[in-house]
Symmetry: C2
Subunit: 388 residues, 2 copies
């Protein structure tokens, strides 16, 4: 049953091969000073940097830069960004990159005028901003996180060995996002496949919770089928526009709050993956992939009906003459085979994890609730152990 | 392949049993004078009127009323609404009703300060407003049209025997909509079933166009499966909250621009149904139901792949050992059986249509393009003839 909720998503999207033209429509709405935020410099190699800069200059903007945002953006880097945004007196933060860059831009946006320590206030205590913020716009170059149309931001505290996310309200969403599927053509395969699993995990973590028969469940099954199909094409043919455009659109809708409305959700896989990343700095989607199968096999008996439905509707498992558990387990087996086929990393060792650090991973795991089973520390320990 | 598009939907939704509380959050954002728009008075019988009025008064609003909006709102009624809104100096138009009431409120909103004749400007010539408009909010009491989260407005010109729609841009969407599934419990079965087919037709008219493999196609298949499932429950059990909430949420997403993004669409069934309604004043969804099967059977050979996909993924037709055409036709047969089962009117005679007026229906049919076959006048004549 769909519970009480409000829905409002004000982000304006420009999608397609001509999407960058949207920047020309958006920039005049903001003041003269733009802080251009990006990562390790791949946008300079693939030409996106110069195309964006050209438009910024044509629109008469004064541009400051904040480069070097890392894949798991750190607390220290956010402090640096705050200083740069203050110095630049930025009227707009323009994030050009993937989810990490967008997440980082949002963290800087809400922290520039924050009177307390931003990590404690937002990421540890989970409070909302009560200060003036700087509007954020995104030019997306990698898909997966959905950060382009939500209030999510995930930041890593290396010193504390914690990677925590916070979901800010719709006032803090990007004002606009530019989604050109061609911009993702040059993403290395490892990162692309990781992003694909991030999308899948977002959908699954909203799907595998609740026993109600919601419209959202049917929509999620559609999104999953499209994702599975397009991912296989994209892995074979990196410049297949149709597959890339479908992946990009699926990623956005997998995590812009839509499919979670009115139902409960289970973010345990993200919680487990983020604990691992806090120690290893491994690529986000790969950390999710490594812990997923042990987690889902553990909770399967507690959510049997949903796992059975998943097997039949998403993976096309034939139910004829089989027990519910057999059907459900065949669905997970099909999922695992697909994960291996597209090249996901399925064990912690390959991500730099170590058996002797498992107790640390358990401690760094934030969530226990939301799924079909409330996790005990022993459950979490077992999942990590089974992920090697 | 997903083409170029922009997406922005600023309407804020309050959903669920407590949704009406959202009105208390929204009303303070607008001026003191509210024009309360509603239909034939069913909201007075089911108590929604007094609940809304109580909140308006508690929020200190000065309320004027514009009642008697009919199921196919007319040009003459809009002129009356314009006069009332002017007289009331309305700061907000609050529509309490189904799609007709919401459509009407939008038409009044954009016409109050329009310097030309609104029918010619918006509905005949399809232009956008260039005058000041009055914000609209909706309290939905019937599902189907999706008008609560889009810019659509359909108005009937009785003198000209024309029923035309216009889709206004996102600046003219309702600012907020209150969606309480319980408010639809008292809708008579005939109207509810009609609304259900309106939802289905919205999805199908966006689905049966294009040969690309878009994420939207998968989402639409999910929406359709949910709709088919929930409709059967709602028809049996009028106060089943889960079914009603799923129908309401599906209706909103079936026509808030989301599933059409990046693809072409086919609005011929609406065009045919509206031509019929211009003569008969028949209930909207029933006019769509009456012409659908002849239309889809006519275009099936031109869109065979999609009709086959529809049969398998939406209706569960087994493809084993059958020709594509057989699979596709079995899908339509399953659809027709379901339509009869839930109680849709499947022929024009029962809606007040007359064979001797078919030439008039043909003339009043606005569209020819968008589907798998460009319709000729003879095609349209054949569809109407086959709909008796």
């Amino acid at each position: 049953m769909l519970g009480n909720f409000t829905y409002c998503n004000p982000t304006k999207l420009y999608f397609g091969k001509d999407a960058l033209n949207g920047l020309k429509e958006e920039l005049p709405k903001y003041g003269k000073r733009v802080l251009l935020v990006y990562g390790g410099g791949s946008i300079k190699k693939n030409g996106i940097y110069s195309r964006v800069l050209e438009i910024l200059q044509a629109c008469g903007k004064h541009v400051s830069e904040d480069a070097g945002v890392m894949p798991n953006p750190t607390v220290d880097k956010v402090y640096e960004g705050i200083a740069r945004a203050k110095e630049a007196k930025a009227d707009l933060i323009l994030a050009v990159g993937g989810g990490s860059v967008c997440d980082y831009a949002k963290a800087v946006s809400v922290s520039v005028n924050c009177k307390e320590d931003f990590w404690d206030k937002y990421f540890v205590r989970g409070e909302e901003p009560d200060c003036e913020t700087i509007p954020v716009g995104c030019v997306l170059t990698m898909v997966g996180t959905g950060s382009e149309m939500n209030g999510g931001s995930v930041i890593t505290n290396r010193a504390q060995k914690r990677k925590y996310g916070h979901v800010f309200g719709s006032d803090f969403y990007p004002k606009f996002s530019i989604l050109n599927p061609e911009f993702t053509f040059t993403v290395p395969k490892y990162q692309m496949v990781s992003g694909i699993y991030d999308i899948m995990s977002h959908i699954l973590e909203q799907y595998f919770s609740d026993t109600d028969d919601n419209t959202s469940d049917y929509i999620m099954e559609g999104l999953l089928r499209s994702l599975i199909h397009s991912a296989e094409i994209a892995v074979q043919d990196a410049t297949n526009y149709e597959a890339r455009s479908n992946l990009m659109w699926t990623a956005t809708w997998a995590l812009n709050t839509f499919i979670a409305k009115g139902k409960s959700t289970d973010w345990n896989v993200h919680s487990l993956g983020q604990a691992l990343a806090a120690y290893t700095d491994a690529t986000h989607g790969m950390t999710l992939a490594a812990v997923s199968m042990p987690y889902y096999r553990l909770i399967l008996p507690y959510g049997l009906e949903k796992f059975k439905r998943y097997a039949i509707h998403v993976w096309g498992v034939s139910p004829d003459g089989k027990s519910d558990e057999t059907i459900a387990r065949e669905g997970l087996a099909a999922m695992e085979a697909w994960m291996r086929k597209i090249g996901l990393v399925m064990n912690i060792t390959d991500l730099g994890g170590k058996r002797e650090l498992v107790e640390g991973y358990v401690e760094a795991t934030r969530d226990r609730e939301g799924g079909y089973k409330t996790l005990t520390d022993q459950d979490i320990r077992d999942i990590f152990q089974a992920s090697f």
